[in-house]
Symmetry: C2
Subunit: 294 residues, 2 copies
DNA sequence: CCAAAAGTGTTTCCTTTACACCCATGC
DNA sequence: GCATGGGTGTAAAGGAAACACTTTTGG
């Protein structure tokens, strides 16, 4: 009964796998108002299962852990093999193990669930490589429009909850933003993860007071040049395409980039008394979408 | 490479175990002032390893998961078998999996770590049953005075961090208190987990404003009767021994018991700007203890 | 009566929140 | 000029921290 003798007959044949819930941002199918900057919503990178069991259903990318690799290495490898994603270790976070004896009907599998955030560009590249990869709005899973294989439905919900807290306490949200971004882009990313809107003024002051979270990006490449620009049009057009949206109305926003901080002091707490709005927001979005198009 | 075929040769022979970090409260070896109510400190339930590997060293209770049981069932069973503890499922919380290929030199073991809180009474009973069970102050592990087998050192540290957050957001701290308790007892329990003192007045107001967390315990059994008591001495002595400390100076405190809430709204947040005091407190306690007695 | 511990009120300070106002740009 | 969005200031509201004062017991 003790863990000291290691006769192989003593322990049952377990399989250990990793599953990874990768979140990214996509445009909302129904922008709140035309002309307004498109609001984002959270989406998950899913694979369509082949093979014999649960074929054709959506599932999280994942697979067996090799005998000589760490859990995080397995997560990175499986993301690469199954979804074509190449994410750094720092972007992947383990959050729970799932070991219900009946969770896989074929054998006893314990899976260690991870989650990650990545920008839509990276996710879309992955989607083009392997045809069986799809990027699906999270709300469709939460409202039951799409159901996942095995217990991946539950894993995705748990991953979302974990990520919502992660965004409060670490700089993980920056994985959803381009290298250079505006405060509005950052806010929209947070809103997509948290599921409700936050006050713009309050949000801006808070993030700028978090030490080491953001630093101003003064590189001209990303800046929308002031009207009194000393650059000629030819010089301007000789620059590379600016990754941030160059065509927008209204006052151009300052650009920021990732600072040195990994954990946030103070944390970027969302208003606790509005947590209950999270679910209703997802429901509202799905209703609107269903009524209009989608 | 896909997870669809299940040839046994395809997946490597993994062993899956559970390890459980059980925390409890013990009296501090050096009370701050004589006559003052003894301050508590956090302690862990450890076992002394037998067998061949890492024999004689401290380790967390734990062991192999059976083929037909859930991870939480395995945790409960191992706690019972190895430490003599009988805890309900609600008191045990999974928090991470550890799967470094080299974490056990004998074979590939992935362990799913759990943590639990329990009152000292329960823990002491367990200690008397099995001789190899010991209750050790957590500070001795944190300051290196005691080192645990395998990576259990790290697991215990992670468990402590997890529990500190758990106490903020759930009613888990009540597992450390007797059925009926005073606000001071509750506060001392929180202080032991968090590692620093909190203001008494602020703490009292906060916990009483958390909906469903506490409810007043008016049962006379636990009450220290008022001086204008209508009960005779004989009636008083006929009552069972009161579990709460009956001999204390100063105004007797009101008794409370567990309310209906499991998650706390609002959460019982500790002051964030004092988080850094946590480690130094543990260091201070160990220094004091080493200098005086212990 | 005094020490000790529990309970409670008050004041100060800080953060959040909401709102408004101005600024800068495209059309 | 006007609409649109970005940046910032301000006043109100709420909560926490610190401190003091009262209450109730044992000695």
């Amino acid at each position: 009964m003790t863990a000291n003798s290691y006769d192989p007959s003593e322990f049952p044949p377990f399989a250990v796998t990793v599953d990874i819930a990768v979140f990214t941002l996509m445009d909302r199918p129904v922008p709140p108002k035309s002309g307004q900057a498109p609001r984002k919503e959270l989406a998950a990178v899913l694979i369509v299962r082949g093979g014999d069991t649960e074929a054709g259903r959506y599932a999280l990318p994942g697979g067996f852990v090799h005998i000589d690799e760490d859990l995080s290495e397995a997560a990175i490898r499986e993301l690469h093999e199954e979804a074509g994603l190449e994410l750094p270790t720092s972007a992947i976070h383990q959050f729970r193990a799932y070991g219900d004896p009946d969770r896989d009907p074929r054998m006893r599998v314990v899976t260690v669930a991870h989650t990650a955030l990545t920008s839509i560009d990276v996710a879309l590249e992955a989607g083009t490589d392997a045809k069986e990869v799809e990027i699906v709005p999270v709300r469709k899973v939460l409202n039951g429009e799409i159901s996942l294989a095995f217990d991946h439905d539950q894993i995705l919900r748990d991953a979302l909850e974990f990520v919502q807290v992660l965004v409060e306490e670490t700089s993980a949200i920056l994985e959803l933003c381009p290298e250079s971004f505006t405060l509005t882009e950052l806010r929209h990313a947070c809103e997509a993860v948290w599921g409700y809107e936050v006050d713009r003024a309050t949000f801006n002051k808070r993030v700028l007071h978090i030490e080491g979270f953001l630093e101003a990006d003064d590189s001209e490449m990303y800046q929308l040049l002031p009207s009194k620009s000393f650059m000629s049009m030819s010089m301007e057009s000789s620059l590379m395409e600016t990754p941030s949206k160059p065509s927008t109305r209204g006052r151009p926003a300052k650009q920021y980039r990732r600072g040195w901080a990994e954990t946030l002091h103070p944390p970027l707490l969302r208003p606790r008394d509005r947590l209950k709005e999270t679910e209703s927001w997802y429901e509202n979005v799905s209703l609107k979408s269903l009524m209009s198009e989608d």
